[in-house]
């Protein structure tokens, strides 16, 4: 475990160097972009001096790293807002969308995969595989646009854009005052974006569940169970599915990590105030502190999520153990 934590720290240090170099070495000057085509050379020079961009790169990096180690990720050039605050504002929206998409993907994907495996080569199997194929192949933003023009434009209670009240806060309101309105508002805003983001993950999970389950169903212990006269459903759910789930859980973990980086295009399409928009905007504005800080924070979340997934294997399969 200590070794893993050490590796984790080293990974983050590596990320910090790479991100720093990438944003600073790429062409593009934050002040020129901020002032636009009407930037005057004198203003560009003055602002670069005030923000400290005229100093040598190693000096800038060490300064930034020193502050980051003390928990200070700097202040956005554009909005003069602490990076931690900018990320903190978006994180709930991103996590909410990530979880909703995954829940949707798991709730549909696993049963569909099981169904397909159990009815292998039947029409049901074929249909679910076609659904999965479309889900994998269609880009998120396209699904998003189709949902917008097909559903949101015609169904009055499904909103076109934006986020409602935070889901957790809405649950809190419901518990304390029995008011369902915020909860309903939160869910109806989540509906389309989570379908758009979740579709491809759902497809992935369906296919993986099916293939893993088919493999496990051919193993000796399953044959033994069947020979003992255990019923089909019981074989699948009690004996096979658990073992088939290991790679599926891996995928869910990895996808969750990826989703925390924000479903960038979907966020733009639905005007979802998530972290992807923050990062893309700050990259195009060369808002160095924001790009560096938010990517470092996301990397940290990602590495930790992966660690948790690894640890969870031993819960599913006790034979897997970590030192």
């Amino acid at each position: 475990m200590t070794r893993r934590l050490f590796a984790l720290a080293l990974t983050l240090l590596g990320v910090s160097v790479i991100v720093f170099l990438l944003v600073h070495l790429a062409p593009g000057d934050p002040v020129r972009i901020m002032l636009g085509e009407q930037a005057r050379p004198a203003d560009v020079e003055r602002l670069n001096r005030i923000y400290g961009f005229d100093q040598p790169l190693p000096v800038q990096y060490l300064k930034w790293l020193g502050n980051a180690l003390r928990g200070d990720l700097g202040v956005s050039i554009r909005s003069q807002t602490p990076v931690v605050e900018l990320v903190g504002q978006r994180l709930p929206a991103t996590v909410e969308l990530a979880i909703a998409s995954l829940v949707l993907a798991v709730l549909i994907g696993i049963p569909l995969g099981v169904l397909a495996a159990m009815t292998r080569n039947s029409v049901i199997d074929l249909a679910s595989m076609v659904v999965a194929l479309v889900g994998v192949a269609a880009p998120n933003f396209w699904i998003g646009l189709i949902l917008l023009s097909g559903v949101a434009a015609n169904v009055s209670w499904v909103p076109v854009f934006g986020r409602g009240p935070g889901f957790l806060a809405a649950i809190g309101t419901f518990v304390t005052s029995l008011d369902v309105k915020p909860l309903f508002d939160s869910v109806r805003h989540l509906l389309l974006p989570s379908i758009a983001v979740g579709a491809s993950i759902m497809a992935l999970i369906t296919r993986l569940t099916r293939s893993q389950l088919l493999e496990v169903l051919n193993l000796d212990y399953v044959r033994t169970a069947r020979a003992k006269g255990v019923r089909d459903l019981r074989v699948v759910f009690k004996h096979a599915l658990r073992n088939a789930m290991v790679p599926v859980v891996t995928i869910i973990g990895v996808q969750f990590g990826a989703l925390l980086g924000g479903a960038i295009v979907t966020e733009v399409v639905f005007a979802w105030p998530g972290i992807g928009r923050l990062i893309v905007d700050s990259i195009s504005q060369r808002d160095f502190p924001v790009v560096q800080g938010s990517i470092l924070m996301l990397a940290a979340v990602f590495v930790v999520a992966n660690l948790l997934v690894d640890l969870s294997y031993s819960l599913i399969n006790p034979r897997i153990r970590y030192a």
Binding site: P27, R32, E37, D43, Q80, T81, L148, S149, G162
Partner: protein, 501 residues
């Protein structure tokens, strides 16, 4: 009380409260999120749009670009134009309750001019030598007399309260004298403003204004059509305009804009240094087709740096119609048989398309154009880096042309800060310098800028592509909003807007 009674009770209470607190909320869609609401350090249009209802300048532009008094009731130029005196409106309150006085004006402008402060564009104000307080309601700006258009820049700077201006949080928690009080801001989601009861111009008609950034054009339009937003300005899907204009539930507003797109030519290039080659390239642009097809009928053909709707526009300056034959003649005169040039632009929905049209037309006269589409940051770095000047042709735009000095000086004066083409003509420099010293809008001033346009158009360092048009949409039940050609100021009269559904 059992659970169901409780639930019903809560519902009933909700209904009663809902009815009692009925308030009008105006939902304004925008193309992008604001970066910051400090007028001193911010430069982008979307920040300014949100600032106008919260904070006010001394004066603002009417939609015909004439001046409208705001925090100043009137002003007076000294006879020798060496100073301008503003007589401030009395009894104006900031949102935190303090009265607005000359101190605030002095503080704001002096902050801009202090080189240690991260002001975005202090160059606009460097003509102000001193700000003198005559009395709490009178303030005098002493000027160097180098730029007669200083009023236009004063009209773009919102007054910051002197007691709060040093607060590092000011841009995120702004306080002004405007008709709406800043209430809350969740970035990329929603900014909420509430009507200011003590606004000097009378309380706003709506109670709450919500700004909702919706980056995707198609989504913004759908949100408008679904009634989720009440109005928005800019980036209206052009192909939808005919349909929207037919619909009695919507109002489509269109007005001539203050910007243009152009093909810039690097005069450091040995062949492009020949004016005949530049004129030939200018003749290659099928401007009418570009406006009709690529801009889908929004905007007009580019006739020069100055908006054709203003008095300074010179209708007699040389123009370059789409004329392949003439281009061929000019190239022959210049002795150019074949030419290979690069054309850089950024990934913008229309510029790469225009680049392709130009490439196709240029082939007809033996000019081979290679197109490079770059990300904006990299592109602007290439164009602005005058040391390397590593480009031949480029497509870029210019906006906010409220006066001819702003439209021409920085771009075309030899010492202009945005003169990326390295164009230089002493005759033009002289006129542009002179124009800054003449009384604005005087016959002499108009004459000078008309002559300047004639020289510029003959020299053709730019091939002007279009003149922009501003497009806004509002629901028919929203009244009193007029889109502004100066896009930053489009919400300066939001307090007059009513919403009755």
């Amino acid at each position: 009380m059992n659970r169901i009674t409780k639930l019903l009770g809560a519902l009933a209470l909700g209904l009663v409260l809902g009815a009692a607190s009925a308030q009008t909320t105006l939902v304004v869609g925008t193309v992008a999120e604001a970066s910051d609401l400090d007028p001193r350090t911010t430069y982008d249009v979307y920040s300014y749009q949100r600032m106008y209802p919260i904070m006010e300048p001394l004066l603002v532009f009417n939609t015909d670009l004439s001046y409208q008094p705001r925090l100043a009731e009137r002003w007076e130029w000294a006879d020798d134009a060496s100073s301008i005196t503003f007589y401030l409106r009395q009894g104006v309150k900031f949102h935190h309750g303090r009265e607005f006085t000359a101190e605030d004006v002095k503080y704001t402008f002096e902050w801009m001019l202090n080189p240690e402060n991260p002001a975005a564009n202090p160059g606009l104000y460097e003509d102000i030598k001193q700000v003198e307080i005559i009395d709490p309601y009178t303030v005098r700006f002493h000027l160097s007399g180098e730029n007669a258009f200083i009023m236009n820049y004063i009209a773009r700077l919102h007054i910051v309260p002197a007691d709060l201006g040093e607060n590092p949080d000011f841009g995120r928690n702004p306080v002004g004298t405007g008709p709406f009080v800043f209430e809350s801001w969740t970035r990329d989601d929603k900014m909420v403003l509430r009507a200011f009861d003590d606004y000097w111009g009378g309380r706003a008609q709506v109670d709450v204004v919500e700004f909702r950034p919706i980056p995707e054009d198609a989504t913004r339009l759908l949100a408008f059509e679904a009634g989720e937003i009440d109005l928005y300005h800019g980036q209206v899907v052009s192909s939808a305009l005919p349909r929207l204009e037919q619909n009695p539930n919507y109002v489509v507003q269109r007005t001539t804009g203050l910007g243009h797109a152009y093909v810039g030519m690097n005069l450091r290039h040995p062949v492009l240094a020949d004016v005949r080659v530049r004129q030939a390239i200018s003749h290659l642009l099928p401007r009418e087709a570009i406006v009709a097809r690529i801009y889908q009928g929004v905007g007009s053909v580019g006739l020069g740096p100055i908006s054709p709707d203003t008095v300074f526009f010179n209708p007699d300056a040389p123009q370059y119609d789409y004329d392949i034959e003439r281009a061929r003649e000019l190239l022959a005169e210049a002795g150019v048989e074949s030419l290979k040039v690069r054309l850089h632009t950024n990934e913008n929905p229309v510029r790469p398309q225009i680049a392709e049209v130009l490439m196709f037309e240029a082939l007809k006269v033996g000019i081979e154009i290679e197109i490079f589409v770059e990300e904006f940051g990299a592109f602007i770095d290439r164009i602005m880096d005058t040391d390397t000047a590593d480009f031949d042709l480029f497509i870029l735009g210019w906006s906010g042309n409220v006066d001819p000095n702003y439209a021409m000086y920085e771009l075309f004066h030899t010492n202009g800060g945005s003169n990326y083409t390295a164009y230089s003509n002493p005759a033009l420099d002289e006129l542009l310098d002179l124009g800054r010293k003449l009384p604005p809008n005087s016959p002499e001033s108009i004459e000078v800028y008309r002559e300047a346009q004639a020289i510029l158009m003959a020299d053709a360092p730019f091939a002007f592509i279009n003149n922009t048009e501003e497009v806004g949409l509002n629901q028919a039940y929203v009244q009193g909003w007029e889109i502004h050609p100066y896009t930053s100021a489009t919400f300066q009269d939001l307090h007059k807007v009513t919403k009755e559904r």
